[in-house]
Every structure is written in structure tokens, then in C-alpha cells.
Symmetry: C3
Subunit: 301 residues, 3 copies
């Protein structure tokens, strides 16, 4: 039997899904953290501060030691493949590899080859970012919002968002009532789509009646300059302004995986306002990653 991995929402079984969300909420609620005698390597092939630090902080809370590889400064220049790197890390006694990579599929291929190294996908191309979707689900659960009552609108650059991809895999499984996607034409996914998910080319239509609006960061680094819209025009069509928010129910919730492009996809007033859960998401991120390590390394109850 090979080591347990967190590759995607799709690869996670029902029990694992539930355990991670519930334990994240429990940690947020003050449950004591187990001591786990294990080691973690962070290997982020795309720059990230918040996700890497969140994993490193979560590991620290569990007494695990973290090691960082900076690919820009490392022996990737000597031409070693990721498979060989993973085998090397495992031979050094490393237990977990947290990997972020621009390639959609690399970590899935790697999982076929490693034996005793636990892999965690911290973002693979536009395909998956499962820890983000899990922590977002924990944030809503901690607020008492059940999936059956969720009407979620996801707005922005859906096509280039691995966060959106993982949410689209997650909510149908949790039994969400309704998912709506909205964004400019060139940022919407190809048709064919998921049952229970509707696609809208108009933001106001998409968010009408939603109780949670998730705004996505435009992935400047994944869109070529020509496809890149003017910020003001983008905000007018697809930005979450105070005015747009005011048309929703007063207790509507606003999420954003960060980092935020203020006044591009969301106004500062809304980002810093009482409906926004943005910092709750960051806070829960540490707890969700603790729950992920626990699930990886200590098994399911």
C-alpha cells in the first residue's frame, strides 16, 4: 500500500473529506493539536508566500520540522527530474512533500512513482488546489452554513483558477444547493460543465440571491498581455462593489482566496467590510493544513 496523498478533491474519499473539514473546525475552535514526529519539505515552483507559510506554520503547530527548497536557487539547474528529487527526499527521511507547480499533471504522475513520501498538492497549474477548497468549506461550516443551504456564486477568472476547479469538484459532493459561475467570456470554462452548476455572462444575474460570493483574483501571470482587461472596465463589469453587495441579503458572505487585487476584482470597502471572510480564510488555512497533516500521517479515525 502506498502512502496517502492529497492530490485533489476528486482523489479524496468521503471519509477523508469529512475528517479534514471537521478537524479544521475543531482546531479553530481550540481543540488541542497532536504532536506529530514527521518532516515536511516545501517545494514551490511558483512564487507563493501565503500558502507556503501557511503549511509551514501548520507543521510548526504540530511539532513537525519544515525544510524549504527554493527552486530558483536549487539543483534543478543540474537537470534532476522531480521523480528523482522525490526519491532523494524520501531517502533522507522526509515524510511529506508540499508541491506547487505550473504543470497541471506533474504531481499526479509523481504520485504513481513515489512509495513512502506523502504528497500534498499546493497548487498544480489550473487543475487543483485542494487545500484551499477544503479550508473554504471549513470556514463556511464554522459559520454554521450547511452545504444544503449554500447558494454560491464564483466570479472572475474561472478558467485560469485552480481554486475554482477544486471548488467545482468539492461542492457537488458536499451537496451544495446551487453553484453559479460568472466572468468575462475569455475567463469562463469550456462548456460541457458540471451538473447543478450554471454559467452566467452577467455578474448581477449570477450573484442575485446568492448567500456566498467568491471573488477570484485575475491570474495576471497566466493571461497574456493582449487578453488582459483594463482594470476599471473589469471592475465595472465583474468587480464586487459596495453597490452590488448592497443588493444582496445583509448577511451575505464574501470570500476571496487572496492575494486581493484591490479595486480590480473587489473594492477595498467590501474587502475590509463586515461581510468579508478573507482573513477568516487565512486563519482557517492554518487549521485546515493541520487537519491535512493529521489525516495524511495519522490516518482516519
Amino acid at each position: 500500500m502506498s502512502a496517502r496523498h492529497l492530490l485533489s478533491i476528486e482523489s479524496l474519499d468521503e471519509a477523508g473529506l469529512k475528517q479534514i473539514i471537521e478537524r479544521a473546525c475543531a482546531f479553530a475552535d481550540g481543540a488541542s493539536a497532536p504532536e506529530i514526529d514527521a518532516t515536511v519539505v516545501n517545494l514551490f515552483h511558483e512564487p507563493s508566500t501565503r500558502t507556503r507559510l501557511s503549511f509551514e506554520r501548520a507543521a510548526g503547530c504540530l511539532g513537525m520540522q519544515s525544510f524549504n527548497i527554493e527552486p530558483q536557487l536549487s539543483s534543478a539547474t543540474k537537470g534532476e527530474s522531480l521523480t528523482d528529487t522525490a526519491a532523494t527526499l524520501q531517502a533522507m527521511g522526509m515524510d511529506c512533500l508540499i508541491l506547487r507547480h505550473a504543470d497541471d499533471n506533474l504531481i499526479f504522475e509523481l504520485a504513481q512513482k513515489v512509495k513512502n513520501l506523502h504528497l500534498v498538492n499546493a497548487g498544480s497549474g489550473v487543475r487543483a488546489h485542494p487545500s484551499q477548497a477544503l479550508l473554504d468549506a471549513a470556514v463556511l461550516q464554522a459559520r454554521g452554513l450547511s452545504p444544503a443551504g449554500l447558494k454560491l456564486a464564483i466570479v472572475g477568472d474561472i478558467r485560469h483558477s485552480r481554486v475554482a476547479a477544486s471548488h467545482l469538484a468539492l461542492w457537488p459532493r458536499l451537496g451544495a444547493a446551487e453553484i453559479r459561475l460568472a466572468g468575462p467570456h475569455n475567463m469562463l470554462p469550456d462548456a460541457g460543465a458540471t451538473p447543478g452548476v450554471t454559467v452566467h455572462d452577467n455578474m448581477d444575474e449570477a450573484i442575485a440571491g446568492a448567500n456566498v460570493v467568491m471573488m477570484l483574483r485575475i491570474q495576471r501571470e497566466r493571461i497574456d498581455a493582449e487578453g488582459w482587461p483594463d482594470s476599471q472596465a473589469y471592475f465595472a463589469d465583474w468587480g464586487l462593489s459596495r453597490e452590488r453587495l448592497s443588493r444582496l441579503a445583509p448577511d451575505s458572505l464574501v470570500m476571496h482566496p487572496g492575494p486581493v487585487n484591490r479595486d480590480v476584482e473587489i473594492s477595498s470597502e467590501v474587502a475590509d467590510g463586515p461581510n468579508a471572510l478573507i482573513l477568516d480564510q487565512v486563519r482557517m488555512g492554518v487549521f485546515a493544513r493541520m487537519a491535512i497533516f493529521e489525516w495524511l500521517l495519522r490516518g482516519q479515525d
Copy 2:
């Protein structure tokens, strides 16, 4: 009440100033270090080895966990503001942010916005480097030199030195007898100056009768090429040679915040000689930063 910060000497009250200097001396003298259960993030927007390592080492001596962000490799590329970064770090449960930045004012503005994150200024533009001034004061106190007996000459690139700026804020408050500044015309501060501080355009005049001479590194990175003097000519006018040192009292003390440009602002003989406190400053740096963390996180006695 917002979290305690160390932004500048000016922002530090009398009790804090005294406590930090005294506790630094106590740690240097073997006082046992408290265990502090807290986390530190180092964010250095200008390259630094010694200051960052000194903070990291001090944190380690107190049992605190350090996290490093390399801005060159981080999501600053995604356009997040420092305010948002700070809020994110705080939401992750980070307790202290050690910040170095080329901007004079950024950390002061940030302090208006953060709530429960302790900020430590590890160098802001040319305005402040308070931990350096505090550790230097502790070095002199540990040598038994009281401020009332101090005749301090600071020589070199005063204008571009945040170390000098913090010393100029510190010594009048501690009651130093005499402060003299000397340096080439384009490296002197604008007139107007501090009471009790004299400005000299001749090094020999400035150091005559001083019992402590503090040599400053020329800030190559802050002076454009045209204003940059020839090293030999600079040394002749403004360098601390053995010959110059020999004209002072035999127990005169020589300080330098490092890193040293040997034979530019100070001769190797002097830098490595018996009057030099340069490595004592490095040693005390760790103890002073332990005292800073203690003051930030455990309050004043």
C-alpha cells in the same frame, strides 16, 4: 490597545529604553533566557545577512519559531500591499514581523494599521535602525562607560545612515556628554541639527578627545556613482588609521555596525585591533534582540 512595536528610538518610552539595554547586558552576563511561545516572520526587502540572522538567532534562544519571506521570491509579484501581507501574517497566528525596507516611512504607516502584530524596524530607509543603536548602547554600558562620560564621534556617511539617525535620537535621551559628527560635505546631514551635537568637516578635529569613535560604512547602494569617492582619497580624509587612533587616549573605543569596508573607512589593523568593539557589537546584537522580543511580548516589569 494595539500591540507594542519597536519602530524607532523616538517611539520608545523611557522605561522601554532602559529595560532593553539593561536586559541585553544581563543576557550577555549569563542571565537565563525566558521561554517565549511566539512566532516571528523576517521580511527583509533589502539584502541582509547579519541582521536577519541575529534576529533569527535571538528568537531561537527564546524558543520562538522563525519564518523567512524572501521578497525576491515571494508573492510581492502578485501585487499585494504590505498592509495586506501584515494582516495575512497576523491571521496565520504570527506574533512579530521584523521588517527591513528601503522606504523611510512605510513601517510607521503600517503601525497605524496592524492590530495584534508586533512590528520591529530592522532598518527603514535612512530614517531608523533602532535595534542597532540599542545594542551599541548596551555594548558601552557593559564596558562600564556611562552616557554622562561619553564623548562620541560618528564619522563617515552620516546622511545616508539609519544607524546614525537612531544614535542621534538615542544619546541625547540617555544624557551623553558630547556627540560630534564628521564626514564629507555630501554625506553630512542638513543643518538645523540636534542640541548638544556638533558637526565637523574635519575628522581630526571631530575625534580629538573622543573616547568612542563610531565609523560608518559608506552606503554604496544609496549613493549614485558620481557622488562616490575614490577609496584611497576617502581613507586619507575620513578613514580611521592606526596613526589617527594613536592620537587618542589608549583606552579609546572603536565601533562599526558592520559589514566593514576594510581600508575604506577603517584600516584592517584598527578593525582587528584591541580598541575595536566590532565583534562585541555583533555578540551583543543577539542579546539586545532577545531583550527586544522580551519587551515586545512579555511587557515591562
Copy 3:
């Protein structure tokens, strides 16, 4: 008396040599690791993932705290010499400096100048990489292969390999039966050579009858483009193929210090096959570095 260093195999006395190899085998065999209250700084002036992580992991296994300096991001830009950096680190209370540098001699010069900082050579130019040779010796000892029975062929870019240099210093002292070197003309060492070592310009001749074949990585970064061979031609002449391996005894062992250039110096089949010790070398690397720290900091029994 100055601090103990690990600079090269040649600088290591008989007792140290034996202790490190034996303790590495003991740790690999499950001997409990001592707790060592000390600090380590990793300063790698050439990019390396595996060696730096191996030292960092070994330090962690002994409860030692590691600090990393990234020279590309550090105050080397401020012109400080390595001697001053070392003195600074020592003043901060650092106990060990692990140094990798392109210069053959720098660490040997530095050892003349530091007092209480333990130096470990993690690779100096083409001259020495002692921890690699020691871990390789421990791997063979753990397999029950005594030096007296060793017939070792080292194949490839001998001239630019510090690993080969350290092996050539090690095996004659341990009493190896036979050492053969083989590689293309421009990658062989200058004549003059070591007693008991033969040099071959033909791989098949060199490996005939060997019980251990050590393949070396071509040091692309140390050979200019014009001297760089075509990979396929190189493999035909100097690569370890399955066919070549099949002409040796079935229990012949294959080593490689990694990272491997697959199908350049060694075929994937051989690298991943049952004769290869490549991952055993990585595994033993951590144990050997634990033994090195123990020898440096706790003395010889």
C-alpha cells in the same frame, strides 16, 4: 587549541576517519542519536539541494538548529569577506559553518583564521567533498564489503570531480585493493598520480573485474561548451549500460553521488536496478553527517 574542522579527507586523522564511518553505520543500524545543543549555518555559494538538505536534516535529527544564508540574496553584495562573515557568525554564537564554494582553497585559508567556529567542507571547487567520500565508505561498510576486498572503478569526469578527489584520498588510507580511473582524455586527471591507482582510457578495460563501479556526473557547470560531448556519444563510450553491467559479477555494486544525468553517464535501467546503491548513498548521507556533527562537537571517544 582551535576548533575541530572537516576540511578534507587528508586533514582527518585515522581515529576521526574510523569514528565517522563507524558511527554512520551505527546510526543507519538504529543507534540512538545524541542530543547536541548547537547551531549550524549553511552557506552554499553554489546551488545545491541535496547536500544542504542532508546537513539540515542531520542537524535536525540531533536537535541542532540550522540557519540558511542564500548568498544570492545576502550581504555578500556589501563586499564583506568570508573571513569577516565567519567571525560575525561566531560572535552570534553559531557553532558550525557548512560551506560550499567554487574556490578550491578558500575554506582551507579560512580554517587558518577562525577560532571557535567548526568548519565543514560541503564541496570546495574540484578539490574536496569529504562528507560524500565518507558516506560512500559507510555504504560499502554497511554492505559488508571490506576495503581489502574492494576493486573500485571510478568512471567519468574525474578531473572536475571533487567527489573523485576525496575518494582518491580516502581509499588508499583505508587499504583498498585496487582503484581504477577511466574517462575521456579531457576529463582525466593530470598524470603523476597516486600509487595503487591505475588510469584507463577505455571503460570496459577499467570496469573488468571491479566489484564496485562509481559513475560520476558530468560537471556541465565546470566544462565550457566546446569541451562538452554529445550525450549519445558519451553514453556509448563512458555510460554504464545494462549490457556493460551484465559483463560484471552479478553482485557488483553501482554508485553515483547524484544528481544523475539519466542516459548520459548511466542508463535508467541501471540507475533504478538492483545493483544500484544510489538511494542508499542518500540515506547514509544523513547518518554520515550526523556522525560528522558528533565528531566535530562531542570529540572522539
